[in-house]
């Protein structure tokens, strides 16, 4: 049976307390926090994390397509899904596509992928959604928005969740938008965009779906609704006849924030983490219209409960010490331009080394088995020339052999922690460490590798892998 084969999610390690935002701008705030992408994360790196978490043991060579849904792609002209496919070390002969410009892009991508699989033109498609929207400083959006990602592997066989039906409407209702030049989303009077827009449109779509498929509110074990804010989300659920306590998937407003195109999908991951065979779930995405998907869970769900989803990441968190740190991460404040801040770059070099840089391929000598990164054409140990195969190192765990905490090295954040990591199965990687407190780094620390943005040069975002303490 076709449908959802696996799921995964990602929430960045850092959280900004609502009280810290209030401290910066005045006023008071209820208890809550938002997930904040580290300075070296963007929608593509978070998406790669969610995808890795979703894939688990799946052979990456089986993936026939990657769809990426976001409103915050790092480039306006240049695909994100091709970058992510490279980071995930997927095959070259696959279809990659970006679903952008709509908060509904995530549920649209899932529907499209399932239709493609149903039509028989792909066996397995990875749908990833991530967003890193910046609310204007001091605005309501600043507190409401959070960063995160979700990923689903959709396949023609062995589905754990199948699609029973789907209903979509398209609407040219403008509630939140950004032109190409806007750093922050714009909006209109809240009374208008909520009462005339969100509440009416989501009601029309969900009730349309229930009419089409002869379903009642009671037929759903779980209801996942996009919501722009906690109050509107609850109003929408109540007005559709859903039970807020027992039925409606709690939104992540006070723990993660509204993660844009990924928001409903992250809630959906939360729902699947608790789901059991036989459960029917409603997944409704909103933005420029609405999608209402009806999904049915089967017994295969038990096989994928070990995936890193929302629960795993909610427990892994560190509070940022203050708003200024967040403002620095998102480049909301100008910083000193230090020595070495502007790096040279060379596109032919990035292209030649793409397998090493993005897929973290090293060499394994056919003669003596030595694994090296970067790839060595002449083996360090047995001196055999050009007798190696490429091996992916990005999915290896490792251990810190030595490290330093560098106050001098150029970097967007100081200090820079450099680690020499010995990888399980062989090979050694010199890389920066991220998502860490410099004080926790020590010889012997267990780490895993994470795909991150390194720096920008000539308008090119440079990505590579870093180590991160295994938690």
């Amino acid at each position: 049976m076709f449908g959802i084969v696996s799921y995964g999610a990602y929430i960045p390690y850092y959280r900004l307390g609502w009280d810290e935002i209030a401290r910066a701008w005045g006023g008071t705030a209820p208890k809550g926090e938002k997930a904040v992408a580290n300075y070296d994360e963007d929608s593509t790196t978070m998406g790669v994390e969610a995808a890795i978490n979703c894939l688990g043991p799946v052979d990456r060579k089986e993936i026939d397509g990657l769809y990426f849904a976001t409103t915050t792609a790092p480039y306006r002209e240049k695909q994100s899904s091709s970058l992510m496919a490279a980071a995930l070390d997927l095959r070259e002969d696959i279809l990659t596509s970006d679903f952008t410009n709509s908060l509904r892009a995530g549920t649209i991508a899932i529907k499209t992928a399932l239709d493609v699989i149903k039509a028989g033109s792909a066996g397995k498609i990875l749908v990833v959604s991530a967003d890193c929207r910046i609310g204007a400083p001091k605005s309501q959006f600043e507190r409401l928005f959070g960063d995160g990602a979700a990923a689903f592997l959709l396949g023609s066989d062995n589905a754990a969740v199948s699609l029973e039906g789907s209903h979509s409407i398209s609407s040219e209702f403008m509630d939140v938008w950004r032109t190409g030049d806007d750093a922050f989303p714009r909006s209109w009077e809240e009374r208008f965009i909520i009462t005339e827009g969100y509440l009416k449109i989501i009601r029309r779509c969900v009730s349309g779906m229930m009419n089409t498929y002869h379903l009642n509110p009671d037929d759903f074990a779980r209801v996942v609704l996009y919501g722009p804010d906690p109050g509107s989300h609850a109003n929408a659920a109540r007005s559709l006849g859903f039970d807020l306590k027992g039925q409606v998937q709690p939104p992540l407003f006070a723990s993660v924030g509204n993660t844009g195109a990924a928001f409903s999908l992250m809630m959906f991951v939360s729902a699947l983490e608790e789901a059991k065979a036989g459960d029917r779930i409603l997944l409704a995405g909103y933005g420029d219209g609405c999608d209402a998907h009806v999904l049915k869970v089967n017994e295969n769900i038990e096989d994928i409960k070990d995936r890193r989803g929302v629960n795993y990441h909610l427990s892994l968190r560190r509070a940022l010490p203050g708003y200024d740190k967040y403002a620095g991460f998102r480049n909301l404040i100008a910083k000193e331009v230090g020595a070495g801040a502007s790096r040279a770059t060379f596109l032919p070099w990035l292209w030649r080394d793409r397998k090493q840089i993005l897929s973290l391929h090293g060499s394994r000598c056919n003669g003596c088995g030595t694994i090296s990164f970067p790839i060595q054409r002449v083996c360090e140990h047995c001196l055999k020339k050009d007798a190696f195969e490429e091996v992916r190192l990005s999915d290896k765990k490792g251990r810190v052999f030595t490290f330093n905490v560098d106050n001098l090295a150029p970097g967007a954040e100081s200090p820079v922690v450099i680690t020499i990591v010995d990888l399980e199965g062989g090979g050694r990687l010199r890389c920066e460490m991220t998502d860490c407190d410099p004080g926790e780094v020590k010889i012997g620390l267990d780490v895993e590798l994470t795909f991150r943005k390194m720096h920008d040069a000539r308008g090119i975002h440079h990505y590579f892998w870093k180590s991160r303490p295994l938690r």
Partner: protein, 387 residues
């Protein structure tokens, strides 16, 4: 393979005051060092038949030396081998003289770092991604972290090396820093790259040093007195730059040091460097580097280097004084000049010209010049000089 031992003599040397020479250009420094060497050797500039220029980033060809000195249309070659550039320039020159391609040649190493502001990193043709977050202190700190773990050395061990070198630097009028520091000061200094603090790092310095060399049998053609020194051995080893990718590299030693010193000791006929050498001027770009060098060059077992430091073996009064001129730490480190500055100290000590630093009748001295950083790219030069 024939040894270089006793074939080539250094008959004149010069060295500028090292430091922040805001009012002097690279050309000024070259002229200052070269003319001191001319005078010391007792030769005319027009006697020079060929020359070697050693600079890492202050010039790009032999013309950078020919132009200020008006070496008119003779062979002048610029060499570069990272921070070991100075010794590398000397090495190329002395092999050319030994094989009788030339009889009398000039070597000048120079660097004008203080015009550059903060270290210029990341501007050149380097991998666009792999070595982000690089700093030289940070990369040596990777070795310090391991050394502490493996051999029980501490920040205090490193501080004692800095204190020693600062103390020696006071005794040299041309040193960059000439002030005493305390162990406590060194240990409490701001951290540059943990565990290395400010006093664990050598400074960026302007300076130039020069040597004039000829074959041993020709010394009398140019000099009246016997005030020259002989090259006894010269080793160099370039590593494969794979320490950061090889799991069997321990960050506790440099293979390049072992090889370069073995080559030089064999040529010079040295079996026990601690007993046979009278002084050693080594590449203390960081205090941890000097600590590692003690073991690599066979002055002591690597795991005992901390005890040797505690016992004062490498102080001016110890069994083997190391960095009697203050080393890179106090004398400063203009990369192209440093290797020749090291030879300048051995030269002055062996000829009894070291003033307040003078050791008691030394006969054999060593210079050790290192380029690169652990695990990244490493290149070591070891020279042995005697009477």
């Amino acid at each position: 393979m024939e040894s270089i031992r006793d074939k080539v003599a250094i008959i004149g040397m010069g060295c500028t005051k090292f430091g922040e020479r805001w009012d002097k250009s690279a050309n000024d420094l070259i002229i200052e060092a070269a003319y001191e060497a001319y005078e010391d050797a007792g030769i005319e500039p027009t006697d020079i038949q060929a020359a070697w220029a050693g600079t890492l980033q202050t010039g790009s060809s032999g013309v950078s030396l020919a132009a200020p000195l008006k070496l008119k249309n003779i062979p002048v070659t610029r060499v570069e081998n990272m921070c070991a550039t100075g010794t590398e320039a000397l090495r190329n020159a002395l092999f050319a003289v030994a094989c009788k391609a030339y009889d009398l040649v000039l070597v000048v190493g120079f660097e004008k770092l203080k015009d550059l502001g903060y270290a210029v990193l990341g501007g050149g043709y380097e991998h666009p991604v792999f070595n982000t977050g690089y700093s030289t202190p940070g990369t040596y700190a990777l070795a310090a972290t391991r050394y502490f773990e493996a051999y029980g050395a501490t920040k205090e061990t490193l501080a004692k090396i800095a204190v020693k070198n600062h103390h020696n630097g006071i005794l040299h009028p041309k040193a960059h820093f000439r002030r005493e520091i305390t162990v406590e000061q060194a240990m409490k200094a701001p951290i540059i790259g943990w565990p290395l603090g400010l006093f664990d790092c050598c400074p960026r310095t302007d300076g130039a040093a020069a040597a004039i060399i000829c074959r041993k049998e020709d010394v009398r053609k140019y000099k009246r007195q016997d005030d020259y020194i002989l090259v006894k051995g010269m080793g160099i080893a370039a590593g494969t730059a794979t320490g950061k990718s090889r799991t069997d590299y321990d960050y506790l030693h440099f293979d390049e040091n072992l090889s370069a010193s073995a080559q030089a000791y064999e040529q010079a006929g040295i079996d026990n460097p601690l007993n046979e050498l009278d002084l050693a001027i080594v590449h203390d770009c960081f205090t941890i580097t000097e600590l590692i060098i003690y073991g690599d060059l066979g002055f002591c077992a690597a795991d005992k280097s901390k005890d040797y430091v505690d016992d004062g073996v490498f102080t001016m009064e110890g069994d083997l004084p190391v960095n009697t001129d203050g080393g890179l730490k106090a004398f400063g480190h203009p990369q192209g000049a440093s290797g020749l500055r090291m030879v300048y100290e051995v030269y002055n000590q062996l000829l009894g010209r070291a003033g307040p630093r003078q050791l008691k009748s030394p006969k054999l001295g060593l210079t050790h010049n290192l380029g690169g950083a652990p695990g990244v790219e490493v290149l070591a030069c070891v020279g042995i000089f005697g009477l």
